[in-house]
Subunit: 440 residues, 4 copies
Amino acid sequence: MKSNIKPAEGKLGILLPGLGAVATTLIAGVEAVKKGLAEPIGSLTQMGTIRLGKRTENRRPKVKDFVPLADLNDIVWGGWDVFEDNVYESAMNAKVLDAGLLNSVKDELQKIKPMKAAFDKNYAKNLTGTHVKTGTRYELAQQVIADIQNFKEANDLERVVLVWCGSTEIYYEASDVHTTLDKFEAGLKADDKLIAPSMIYAYAALKLGIPFANGAPNLTVDIPALIDLARETNTPIAGKDFKTGQTLMKTVLAPGLAARSLGVSGWFSTNILGNRDGLVLDDPDNFKTKEVSKLGVLEDIFKPEENPELYGDIYHKIRINYYPPHGDNKESWDNIDIFGWLGYKMQIKINFLCRDSILAAPIALDLALFSDFAKRAGMSGIQEWLSFYLKSPQTAPGLPAESDIFKQLIKLENTLRYLMGEDLITHLGLDYYEELVEAK
Amino acid sequence: MKSNIKPAEGKLGILLPGLGAVATTLIAGVEAVKKGLAEPIGSLTQMGTIRLGKRTENRRPKVKDFVPLADLNDIVWGGWDVFEDNVYESAMNAKVLDAGLLNSVKDELQKIKPMKAAFDKNYAKNLTGTHVKTGTRYELAQQVIADIQNFKEANDLERVVLVWCGSTEIYYEASDVHTTLDKFEAGLKADDKLIAPSMIYAYAALKLGIPFANGAPNLTVDIPALIDLARETNTPIAGKDFKTGQTLMKTVLAPGLAARSLGVSGWFSTNILGNRDGLVLDDPDNFKTKEVSKLGVLEDIFKPEENPELYGDIYHKIRINYYPPHGDNKESWDNIDIFGWLGYKMQIKINFLCRDSILAAPIALDLALFSDFAKRAGMSGIQEWLSFYLKSPQTAPGLPAESDIFKQLIKLENTLRYLMGEDLITHLGLDYYEELVEAK
Amino acid sequence: MKSNIKPAEGKLGILLPGLGAVATTLIAGVEAVKKGLAEPIGSLTQMGTIRLGKRTENRRPKVKDFVPLADLNDIVWGGWDVFEDNVYESAMNAKVLDAGLLNSVKDELQKIKPMKAAFDKNYAKNLTGTHVKTGTRYELAQQVIADIQNFKEANDLERVVLVWCGSTEIYYEASDVHTTLDKFEAGLKADDKLIAPSMIYAYAALKLGIPFANGAPNLTVDIPALIDLARETNTPIAGKDFKTGQTLMKTVLAPGLAARSLGVSGWFSTNILGNRDGLVLDDPDNFKTKEVSKLGVLEDIFKPEENPELYGDIYHKIRINYYPPHGDNKESWDNIDIFGWLGYKMQIKINFLCRDSILAAPIALDLALFSDFAKRAGMSGIQEWLSFYLKSPQTAPGLPAESDIFKQLIKLENTLRYLMGEDLITHLGLDYYEELVEAK
Amino acid sequence: MKSNIKPAEGKLGILLPGLGAVATTLIAGVEAVKKGLAEPIGSLTQMGTIRLGKRTENRRPKVKDFVPLADLNDIVWGGWDVFEDNVYESAMNAKVLDAGLLNSVKDELQKIKPMKAAFDKNYAKNLTGTHVKTGTRYELAQQVIADIQNFKEANDLERVVLVWCGSTEIYYEASDVHTTLDKFEAGLKADDKLIAPSMIYAYAALKLGIPFANGAPNLTVDIPALIDLARETNTPIAGKDFKTGQTLMKTVLAPGLAARSLGVSGWFSTNILGNRDGLVLDDPDNFKTKEVSKLGVLEDIFKPEENPELYGDIYHKIRINYYPPHGDNKESWDNIDIFGWLGYKMQIKINFLCRDSILAAPIALDLALFSDFAKRAGMSGIQEWLSFYLKSPQTAPGLPAESDIFKQLIKLENTLRYLMGEDLITHLGLDYYEELVEAK
Ligand SMILES: NC(=O)c1ccc[n+]([C@@H]2O[C@H](COP(=O)([O-])OP(=O)(O)OC[C@H]3O[C@@H](n4cnc5c(N)ncnc54)[C@H](O)[C@@H]3O)[C@@H](O)[C@H]2O)c1
Ligand SMILES: NC(=O)c1ccc[n+]([C@@H]2O[C@H](COP(=O)([O-])OP(=O)(O)OC[C@H]3O[C@@H](n4cnc5c(N)ncnc54)[C@H](O)[C@@H]3O)[C@@H](O)[C@H]2O)c1
Ligand SMILES: NC(=O)c1ccc[n+]([C@@H]2O[C@H](COP(=O)([O-])OP(=O)(O)OC[C@H]3O[C@@H](n4cnc5c(N)ncnc54)[C@H](O)[C@@H]3O)[C@@H](O)[C@H]2O)c1
Ligand SMILES: NC(=O)c1ccc[n+]([C@@H]2O[C@H](COP(=O)([O-])OP(=O)(O)OC[C@H]3O[C@@H](n4cnc5c(N)ncnc54)[C@H](O)[C@@H]3O)[C@@H](O)[C@H]2O)c1
Ligand code: NA
Ligand code: NA
């Protein structure tokens, strides 16, 4: 297997539609890491280790030492935005990172200027950017394709990946124009308003065989037309919605309750956030996109239809509140009403003083690096093993999404082990005790 | 494999040293369940399901329908205590379950009267029970053996298991008398004070080939002498300390942080509880036993020596507070200081309004049923696959304990699959996408 | 002064428009107290003490022993509702009190059957009651007057008071028809839709010289027309909105911050509740009434225009969430962003697991008893000294409302002292040290 | 009255025994305020306003514009410590204020060097300072007197005050040597170990007629010998223990519960702190001093003997935990078990992310300024009106301490009004409604 994976030689371009809080935190962070000023905490590819073989072998290399990933020093950044601010200015506005840190990589950040965005204000009413391309959707797609090609040539890149870090678009569902590639391309030409701006970037990338990952909850690449295109051009895709904060906690905690067969009657989740993302989500249409993405995870994990006595009657409510005093320091509260032995009630309350973009940036990095790796490993289409990073993961048609973060992790790790020719881990481990079996 | 497992025919005796809050909640609960008055929530064996085969097969039977476990209707209860109260009286004192519920099973509970305890007040200074056996430790052991045999005959039982539900004993470490069976038996005869009362029950059970599980944090069966005896008499053992409440949460949450390579600088855990268990733990010597049991889990999970940048400098503090107003409604607070991308700090605060014995009772039940099953499946010695239920699990010498509840769960499930002749689950699942592999 | 207060002789009728959770908790509770089954905790009139004279005098009688209030044994209950359920049935539905307790006063409660309501569904869209009067608003008022008179005669009552415990009405402001008594009475005859149902009860009571207190946030008696009528008929009025739960906490905590000149930049309040009140408030129009009532208190207390550096820029947000799993057990979270010395930031987080009607019932009782007392003491119109009990207290025109619960308490206590001929308390107390002054 | 108060002319020396976190935060802060870099938030003297006259007069000046206090620009700083660090170094160690802010007043801070301390290691075992005076207690007292006189002359000061900001001393109670001035002075000469170091400073100050306030929970000036000396030399004294953080909240919240006659069955308070103060308090003997100071407030406020049904059975527990990860960012949790109407239970949980020294510094400032004011106003001995600032306030013998912060505030405000010849406020306010009375 290992022999089939192309090495990570040459430079990798990471192009980000949307150079806001997450994107600039990512870029500034990697530049700081490259200078030895900070550590890429929260990134499994950079900090994580993976167990190989039996426990007694004590093999536990870093992921990046086990799998051939692009080196941080080989990354070149670019992106699009509806505002003209360069990455330094945008990072200062976002107020996620300290001015001191940003100034230490000011030169690198100032150089990165957004290309004009493919945008449609109907998809984000609270945004009034002016740095936008003009033309029909088809023309916009051609311009994005040209942007990518120019960027690749200008920077002498070996490979490119795209990660959508743009604002959450308003809620929409897949409609006829999204069902086949033919209809989609016809829709582009007809400037069909049902094609969202984010889809234009995705289409452009996939046409060029460039991996595309989607950090927002909008469908984007999660439509048959683009899934087909991905398979056609042998390109990995991954979506949707970076799994951070409250949902991250939920997909950690819910599996714990399910593991123990503890019942759940209610789950109330509320949070406050005061950044630009919060402002966009203050519009009910955009909030709905986020809400749908967040609501699904409990059903995935609890499977109420199979466990009706425990999870058949959960009242799950999510409220997001725009609250400027906290800026990017999103804070969440969960109240979980559970019941145990004989139906006796208990409550779990979680208060997470988190930092939104601090949690999202390393995810965007890992998605970029793993997407590039997947491409080199000959994988294409939906990368279910990356659902570890996503609130609302794409799966093969007919297959329920798996939101349990621990199953997602095993899937990710066993995928890496499999691709690298290592034994899969089953945690059986009877051999340590019984000398009965070969399994690990 | 399946063919080798003896069926669960006839009656199963469950004997509990310590008929306090946990034990009476267990007994009253099972009796209520048998009458259709309540559900055994929180018990994996009774309520849990297990996935078999590929996801698309949709095979997800209840555990009890998959594995041949003793039926609840075949259970006969017994136990020992230093107080004379019958199970109804003791349950009323414990104030865990409503009087209404207890009265509905009053007849069944009143019949269960404790046998005299093998006790030594030095091991629990805050207890002043009088319902105790007399004699040297060796004589006590012989009396317990006789108790078990009489109980078995009197009730016409096919099989028996013991689960220690007695108070936490004061802190002690393994010493010379615990190292070999010979020394241990000599110690019994010499009435060596270093042999704890709980060990007397364990010795008696193992001598008879009867499985023994330990719900308290004291060593008990976790000493070479008794591990050897277990192997000799082909008897499964499991210990130690029911994993409930705050530690349960910890072993759910910590793996989630580790999965995402998020750093941890401090973890402060405090709780308040007002039951008899709390009173015993108010003595510093007994508290130490609990503390040691609770402290270990973070190291098991975070492996600081392998991940020094993330977990090399955790300040972990645990405080238990006796607080009568809450009775058995233990309540815990955790403050977790974490850091992410570039070292930026965040905090997670968890407040768990739990009910101690409500969480512990189904664990005691599962340990009893699975221990009995293990015996019938020909397994003996340490049952690492039961560490799912334990705060401080026993492992083979030299093998680090695994406290990550999700790895424990996979281990448990894959053990059941293995014993029942089903494929192990690896969560690889590439076959749904690539038709490349056979693995699931 | 004392000599002018009429004694509390004979029976007092307490009539409650709205026999829902609060009203039935009040009635059942008083009946249980009368039987010696429980204590009227939370009621200042019944449980509270009041200091008289100098500290060294050690005079601290119960309020009810100091002020001539009606005795609980002299109360006769009645009310109106849009549902036909008697008080026992309604209390069972409300699920505030245990069935056991309710059954112990079942006879008393079953006897109390609601009179038909003066109702207009436009004022509470989520309610579909059928037990309603018909006719123009003027005719409804005449029917309510007759109801009151019949009730008084039938029960041989000396005095009557009304306390509105009906659902929160949709948001409305005072309009022309509310400005004078003449216009109001013309409006009644013209069946003017701008006259809310609650106003019909208030008008009927005041016409008869019967005190009226308003436990809901709707204006009701807080309009010039009815304030004038109250002065005309020498009748005390008090409103509006029982001060319980989160707002109670707010008016306790905010004065503490203001006392210490600590700045506040944000205050986020959210709560979950699952009772019928919550269902009504789930309608945005009704929620608005509640929100307006709750929002004002911070301004009253912090006076941002006078303390702009500390309170000029508070972001205050209130969210109420209907969450059925908790029933009447309303639960609230407050996050308060404060700043201290040199602007350094701190946070206070409050989680209140409260019981809505348990907090409201004793307030309704005190308002009834004190309103009756005020009438006997010859006081009329707005009773500012009762603002202690109210979220959004009425004041004399041009006078800012005082929401600081401690100033409200001193006002209440000094009013009682004044009326009973005792010295006012100033807490000066220099005399203990300096022998300089007479003040206390 | 006003005419008797001496004006605040000339320079005021503030001398602080203990130049640690609180003291340096105070000094650095005032210097920053003087430069216009920050605001003295949290200081009632600097930021607070006071209502004068009737509400309709709208007179609400700043306290410092109403009362003749020393101007911040007239303050000269000095102090003693067992470590040699100057105030800049000590502030950097304390890590309370940002390095940026400290650097902007570096010159001012570096100049302030501690004088050698009067110290006895038995009173703070976790401290190993070397910058200490030698001699008997009497000699130490003479040296401190000389220090003060030299400081006054060298800086051309008009007046001086002392505020103890030293570490908490181990627990001790008043003994024979503390009962009279004669015995005390004999004890100094005999170098009696029962005389604590803090008493030496207090004695020196009072001998010179210099006000002394005590920010720590040790007795210090709260002994008959020094109270007598204060009266003799016409000197104000105030103590003890700055009221910040958790206790501040407690004396805000408890009066709110008492106001409403809500019962309390338990109050559990725990906190974590990681500064030097926390290290000293990690010693059980020093912790006891703090605990005693903190425990009293609930009794003061709830008066259980007078309200046995509500407060007769409170279980009050306080735990302080040294937790280095949080540094000076003390964080506290309170769980309050309350009961209302008919005994139904509710819970209040408070989580305060506070900053210890940020809360304490403005209190130290106010105590200094008000003590100086009191001296000029001819007041002497215990200043009960300053108990607003203190956890464990001194009172006249036989008078119970008043810990309700709102009563303390009225006392403080009415004292200022009284001294300045303004009407006392009673909040009666009937005049707005009834034209009946003159009271306000
Ligand atoms: N931060 C998190 O924790 C987190 C978690 C999950 C998902 N997300 C998602 O990630 C995305 C980015 O979040 P953020 O906090 O950086 O938001 P942000 O508002 O700071 O940045 C988004 C940027 O996208 C730009 N943009 C919008 N539409 C565009 C278009 N069509 N083309 C190019 N640029 C466009 C905006 O101008 C803005 O600068 C959002 O969709 C958010 O919901 C974030
Ligand atoms: N409840 C939980 O969540 C939980 C979790 C983990 C572990 N545990 C452990 O389970 C055990 C039982 O907990 P509990 O809440 O039921 O405590 P409990 O105090 O209510 O009951 C313990 C009983 O054991 C009896 N006992 C003590 N020594 C004995 C002896 N030598 N022989 C026979 N009886 C003896 C006591 O008299 C008492 O009745 C404790 O060790 C506790 O630490 C409980
Ligand atoms: N419980 C609290 O803590 C609290 C606090 C402040 C204010 N309040 C207010 O008190 C009121 C009562 O609260 P609740 O919890 O008892 O609500 P509830 O819904 O249980 O009871 C209200 C009752 O009023 C009846 N009603 C509505 N309109 C009526 C009309 N025109 N005439 C007669 N009956 C009418 C309804 O049918 C219902 O039975 C609400 O307005 C609520 O907002 C309650
Ligand atoms: N920060 C708060 O919120 C707060 C609240 C209430 C009370 N207090 C009390 O205020 C005091 C100061 O607190 P801190 O946080 O600044 O502590 P800190 O430990 O930072 O400073 C105390 C300083 O006093 C010095 N010291 C000890 N004994 C001395 C002596 N005999 N003479 C001269 N110096 C001496 C120590 O060397 C140290 O530098 C403590 O007693 C604390 O308990 C603080
Ligand atoms: Na293994
Ligand atoms: Na007034």
